[in-house]
Symmetry: C2
Subunit: 144 residues, 2 copies
DNA sequence: CACTAATAGTTGCAGTTGCAACTAAATCAA
DNA sequence: TTGATTTAGTTGCAACTGCAACTATTAGTG
């Protein structure tokens, strides 16, 4: 008894499948050569952009659970890519920044990651603009 | 030392964040009321559409690892939503189908899930077509 | 000041996932 | 037929994640 529903044309499924595949493609770029996972990548990307940053700010920027961020930061500190920076006024919060090793690694990863994105955008060609516009629209709808 | 990289405008990140949020919104629809997770949802959606189906076909349709599908099917059988169907010519493969209970539950879930999708598409308004077109394009690029 | 509530971050625990190794069955080659 | 290869599905294991509970610190109230 077939019901009228086609998962293959279902928007949330298609979007999720697409994002998973893209993330998988991208993460293979930094996983193999640098031994980090997607959460670590997002943490160092945030630190590279923001400079000295609290864990809370990383949580907000990456939309990732604070326990996940906590563990990623711990791992990155263990790798020597990240260090705690001086205590802030608020004794509860901790600030972090990239070490020089972390900056160096980020400098190595960035071109690879950018090349990946460029490749996708290039394949989209003239439709790239429409794609970004669509995503902006969806963000407004979903992050209500 | 700030580097020139903005995660917030990075295509794979934005797409992934969007898809996660959408999936989370959707899954709250069936998780609470029906006690299933996203993998189970995809399995029953595939079975509802395809009828009698092998595990392998579900793997292909959902793009999910075979071990994950194996466990989801086991769980669904335990819930009485899915049953094994008669042996096929190939003794390695196993075919499954929805039970009448499974069909009934699917009939209850479908309107909720469709309503969610409709809500998103409605919010997109006239841009809905462009959105679907963009996703099709990205699929061609990513699933090379 | 004392007491309560809120916030930042960590950790134990349980659930989920992917990988690799495994079993069972089919296919292929000689 | 026999033996090697491939395919379908299952399971043990290790890694990752989210939740809830916890500590520590700050903010708010009287």
């Amino acid at each position: 008894m077939k019901q009228q529903f086609d998962l293959q044309n279902f928007l949330p499924f298609r979007l999720n499948r697409l994002a998973s595949e893209m993330s998988a493609g991208l993460s293979s770029v930094y996983r193999e050569k640098f031994g980090i996972e997607i959460t670590e990548w997002r943490v160092i990307a945030t630190l590279a952009h923001e400079g000295e940053t609290t864990a809370q700010a990383i949580v907000a920027s990456t939309r990732t659970h604070k326990s996940t961020i906590s563990r990623a930061v711990t791992k990155l500190i263990g790798m020597g890519w990240v260090e705690r920076s001086g205590p802030s006024q608020d004794g509860r919060e901790k600030s972090f920044k990239l070490t020089s090793l972390g900056s160096q690694r980020m400098g190595e990863i960035l071109p690879l990651v950018r090349a990946y994105e460029r490749e996708v955008l290039k394949a989209l060609g003239a439709d790239g603009d429409g794609c970004l516009k669509t995503i902006s629209l969806l963000e407004k709808v979903i992050f209500k």
